[in-house]
Symmetry: C2
Subunit: 341 residues, 2 copies
DNA sequence: TTTAGCACTCTAGGGCTTAGAGTGCTGATC
DNA sequence: GATCAGCACTCTAAGCCCTAGAGTGCTAAA
């Protein structure tokens, strides 16, 4: 739908603009070896491209920059996304494989992604309340201290050291553990908590103090697991300072505030979770005028067919999509493989 | 060493400047009800204060602002630090008491401190390599998966789910656990790792595969505990955008870079760890010209007489020391009490 | 000792001017 | 008919000048 020359010039303009960040004029384009046209001819084409809405001039005597529509067209129809080389994958993998648990891993993936792209990155965390509680154990540490250990989904565990109100004996503790495993094992965290709470009132009457304090400790850990974690986290925000188009401190503040409030961005992430593969949101497509000059590149991550969350980066619309998209893709894939383990 | 009038005017100037952030002129001071002097008189005093090096004028026709020496004098001799009210303490405490483990707690304390001061905050993390390994356990999860559980110092635990190369039986696993507890229990992490590594070569010969893979898994968890954690972490950096004196994006970038490299700030934190109680570092005292317009307020935190690390905030030199210092103090105290638990 | 008065200094901001970058259009050329 | 040199035109960024206003230090009177 765009003839070769138009495409060549559009792509070249995009290339120059992504590199320099300044509006691109007709002479700059004409000078490129692959173009080989006079600036006058280039100007004619540029005028057409502007009429099509793909590029625009910030003002009369400046060059042209891509419009939002232009970016979209570039991403959808022009750009080619090559796999990053194997070194990239192995370095990402080795940076992550030491992370102990699921949360650390997700955080690590985000950190790495922010590092390799030089932009901010974000992760939509898995919904904890639908995780399945696999196993509960209590490990005696001293006379009145125990460690409460919960294993979720076979791939994540949480522990907490708790001081009990009174000394206990190991057998009793085992009994409570067996009891809880029997009734809560295999339930989702929500269901498990419901069960615990309902039991607590019963037990309170029976005055089994140990049972009571162990169960309430367990409930606290569960509650913590369900509630405390933020729905998503953003890392490397400060990297965004490096982009002039965002360097206006008022804009940046608004952006960071939007990250903190998260209502805003959550819809986007949910949407991204519906689709498979990498998605690119450009400018307003991100859901608010705050993201005017930003783009967000996301990809859901899944384990055993179940989509757990989304990994992505946030940066200026003027980002190198051809590099960023594959990086997000590969990093999310690596994350998936490490989550599975 | 400063007579009453001088002190009054100096304090008033500081008050106005902390609030407004703009240079304070003689008329503004003279207008204050508690001053009751003409602007001319005030001017004379100001000239003297300038000669003493406590205040300076950015340029001839501007008012005066405190010098670094002025801030120091204010903090050392003028300011009064009142305890924040109990509500403050309880709200901090309740924000933190759900944190599961030591790292989460420290991170939480930093987050809270950043929130209540509106500035960036930092924590120097405890030196992991001198932590004592209290207890090791392996919990079978499935045919070939186990959970490695390590308890440190009675107050922190780490777990990791590991896939073993071959199936195992529970008795064997118990044997390995007993063995490791016997030889590593009570040792510091460094010592324990040393032991494990030395044993690994021996065991490799004896071809006890289970032992081998369990021990190397344990070592990986230990290694992780020792190495991965950053020496300190900074939270709420983006809050610093709110201060005009730092809003220059070049300055901010330099500052954030300094945080990331940490060599720079680490010396300061080490120094702060030597002393008891809250310490205030103003401008260059922070150790580099990058911190020109910044101050850092720190306080070591300790458990059972042993200093574990440092909690602090970073903000503009023009911060309300009278409020910030007590907040850092109380937050660190609460952190201590929660760490002890 | 305090203060009114005054001459002086410096900055922030508005208005003006200009160099230069880039454009669109026209008419000549292949 | 496509290409392009040439030209008149537009707009910005940057430098310069000027002024209002804020604030000072000093002097001399109360």
């Amino acid at each position: 739908m765009l003839n070769d020359r138009y495409q060549l010039l559009f792509r070249s303009l995009m290339g120059l603009y992504l590199n320099e960040g300044k509006p691109v004029g007709s002479t700059a384009l004409a000078k490129l070896p692959e173009v080989g046209l006079s600036s006058a001819t280039v100007r004619n084409v540029m005028a057409d491209l502007e009429r099509m809405g793909l590029i625009k001039a910030p003002h009369t005597s400046a060059g042209r920059i891509p419009t939002q529509k232009g970016y979209r067209f570039f991403v959808d129809s022009i750009a080619t996304f090559n796999l990053p080389n194997d070194d990239y994958a192995t370095s990402v993998r080795s940076a992550l494989e030491n992370d102990l648990n699921q949360d650390a891993l997700l955080q690590g993936a985000s950190r790495v992604l922010s590092g390799v792209t030089g932009m901010a990155s974000l992760v939509l965390m898995p919904k904890k309340e639908s995780e399945v509680l696999k196993y509960i154990d209590f490990i005696p540490l001293s006379e009145s201290r125990i460690l409460v250990l919960l294993v979720f989904n076979d791939r994540d565990a949480q522990n907490r050291i708790v001081e009990l109100d009174r000394p206990f004996n190991a057998d009793e503790l085992q009994k409570v553990a067996r009891f809880l495993n029997e009734y809560c094992g295999g339930k989702t965290l929500d269901q498990a908590r419901e069960f615990l709470v309902s039991r607590m009132s019963q037990i309170r009457e029976s005055a089994n103090e140990l049972m009571m304090s162990v169960i309430s400790a367990t409930d606290r850990v569960l509650q913590n697991q369900v509630q405390q974690t933020l729905p998503f986290l953003v890392m490397g925000k400060t990297k965004l300072l490096n982009y002039q188009e965002l360097a206006d401190s008022e804009k940046l503040k608004a952006l960071f505030q939007a990250f903190d409030q998260h209502n805003n961005i959550l819809g986007l992430l949910d949407k991204s979770m519906q689709a498979k593969g990498v998605q690119v949101f450009i400018g307003n497509e991100c859901g608010s005028d705050i993201y005017q000059d930003c783009s967000i590149v996301t990809r859901p991550y899944e384990v055993e067919g179940e989509i757990l969350g989304v990994l992505g980066v946030v940066g200026p619309s003027r980002m190198d999509y051809q590099k960023v998209v594959p990086k997000v893709d590969v990093t999310a894939k690596i994350l998936e493989s490490l989550l599975k383990k």
